[in-house]
Each structure stands twice: as C-alpha cells, then as structure tokens.
C-alpha cells in the first residue's frame, strides 16, 4: 500500500455499487476498468476512450440534459488535475444533480503508476471543491468510514464532491474499451429515454 492509502479501488467501488439505484454512472480511467467488472447497468457510460480530464465535463453535460436524474462521475485525481476549471464550470452551471467522486491514488495509474505532480506538493482536492462552491464535500481515507458515510454523502445537496483516498493498483493497468462506442452510445441514450 502507498503511504496512508489503505482502501482498495475495488473495495471503494463496491460500496458505491451496493448503494447505486437508478443514477447515471460515468466512469473514466482506472475506475472504468474496475466498475465494468463489478457492475453491468444500462445507465453506466464508460467514457473509454476519453480525453483525459474530460469526464467531469461530460457527466455535467448529461446532468444538465437530464435534470431529473442523479449523475455520478468517477474520475481520477490525475484526470481532475488536468481540468481543475471543470469544478467551477460544474458549480456555475448549477449541476445540482451531479456527484463527482475522485478516486485519489496519487499516480497516473493507466500509464503504469507514475507519480503525479502532487507527490512533491500534496494538495487538498476537497478544499478546492469547497472553494469552488460545491454544495457538499466529503473525503474518506478508509473503507470502514466510506461504508458508514457513503449513503449520507450521496444524498447531500448537490453538486456533491467526494474524495476517496485509494491505493494504486499493483500491476493491472490495462484499460480496454467495452465494445464499439457507437453501440454503447445508442444503448445509453435508449436507456435514458426509458
């Protein structure tokens, strides 16, 4: 395990999977890889391939288009750092039905686990979200606390921002697209219309 990060990504995602009902879930990067193994739901959109850092903006677009639905985006800390302005775009756009979950593992996992710039300069992502005026912000650094607090964190006023401090994966960095994008877009749009 890396430093104080003891929660596994799979363990953290399983908590969310157990609580998930009819929310849209947008996944990117390593979270996309593991979520696909845990869950098969028509309202999942695996943003693979993506433009790194674009997951939050894509999920915000869905949230604005579908205000009656809750939309959760699973992003990485490296991805978020590529587009920090998206935090402000999300709150300024009044994406009240948006939940941003950052799986913070401190590395660029899908490229092999290289260190982020924050390795030498630890930062407070939750504090940044608070400063960007997210309505509710939470951070969990162990599985028990996440299990206990997840349901409440997911039902706070939105937009919501949740940081999950997880350990980097050890070896399985592969990220495969789960089928042709055109088919997935068609199926996802059809699921939204139901």
């Amino acid at each position: 395990m890396d430093g104080n990060r003891h929660m596994t990504l799979v363990g953290a995602l399983q908590v969310l999977a157990d609580l998930r009902r009819d929310q849209v879930v947008v996944t990117t990067m390593s979270a996309a890889r593991e979520w696909q193994r845990l869950v098969d739901h028509p309202l999942d959109f695996h943003y693979v391939p993506s433009t790194m850092g674009g997951g939050l903006a894509l999920a915000l677009g869905i949230a604005l288009a579908q205000p009656q639905r809750d939309v959760i985006v699973l992003s990485g800390d490296g991805s978020l750092l590529m587009n920090l302005g998206s935090l402000v775009t999300a709150t300024a756009s009044k994406g009240h039905n948006l939940t941003v979950i950052v799986v913070d593992n401190g590395v660029y996992e899908t490229t092999g686990g290289q260190k982020l710039v924050t390795t030498s300069c630890p930062i407070d992502l939750a504090g940044m979200a608070l400063a960007a005026r997210f309505a509710s912000v939470a951070e969990f650094d162990n599985l028990d606390a996440w299990k206990e607090g997840a349901a409440a964190a997911l039902t706070q006023p939105g937009p919501r921002f949740i940081v999950l401090k997880v350990a980097p994966a050890s070896g399985d960095y592969t990220l495969d697209a789960p089928g042709p994008m055109a088919d997935r877009i068609k199926a996802f749009r059809a699921a939204l219309e139901k």
Binding site: T51, G54, A57, L58, G85, T89, M181, F188
Partner: protein
Amino acid sequence: MLLGPQLARTIADFGATHVIWLPDTTLGQWEEALETSASFQLLRVCREGESWPLAAGLYLGGKSPLVVMQSTGLFESGDALRNVLFDLKIPLFSLIGYRSYLVEDSRDTAKKYAEPILNAWGLHYELIGGPEDLPRLTKHYRDCQAAGKPGVGLIAEGRM
C-alpha cells in the same frame, strides 16, 4: 460584422438547446443576445478543452449543443475535439472565431494556422463574414446534421 441578435436568431433556427462558449473580443459582443435568448441556454466554461466533452454529455442526454470559441481555443482543445468528434463520433457543430482573418498584413500565427488545423482534422467549414452569409451558415449546419457529421462556421474576425 455579425450582430448578436442576428446570430442568436440563427442559432435558435438551428434548434440548438445549449450554447457552450468562451468568448473573444468579437464573439464577446454577442454575449447579451446569447444570454437573453429564450431558445437556448448559454453555458460558460473555464477552458475550451471542457467544451467538447460538455457538449458530448448534453448530446448523450438528448440535447442539441453548439460550441463557440476562438481559433486559439480550437488549438488548445485539440485532444478533446479529437476524442469527441472522432472517437465518440458525435456530430457537434461549432462556431470558431477566425482571429485576424480580416487583417490583410497580419502576422498573427492564429490566422496562419486556423485553416490548416481545420483541414488536418478533416472538418468541413464555411467562412462567415457577415449577415449576408447567415443563410449559407444555416445550410452548412443542416447539411452536417443530415450527414451526421461535425461542422464548423468560421467567423471572420479582425484584430484580437
């Protein structure tokens, strides 16, 4: 030069539901007209790289977004454009401000590279100089939508 109300009416005729924009000096003059239109919602972004995935999300959610930015934003947001238009194959239409196009002796590299970049992406564009070109812009939009392809209205601008 295009006036805001003229362009807002054209965008409304497109059937656009959202305009995602980051303005420059020329495009910025449309702000009031775009912001007050009852036909679509204006969404501001912090950086142009957000515009394409934001528009993609709106499209996935059943809406009809339009992206508006300067040519420099086009350059900045290349990877996001590549992913959304060519990986996801979402047929977004955009209005790109062609900085310095109207300045004959301009050495602005934003002018030099705008059309080569659009050509490199294989994006079909129409150069729009003024209100007389709006019917051509509308036809280009309709043609792109009918073909399920992305397209660009390249808005002629003066100095930055």
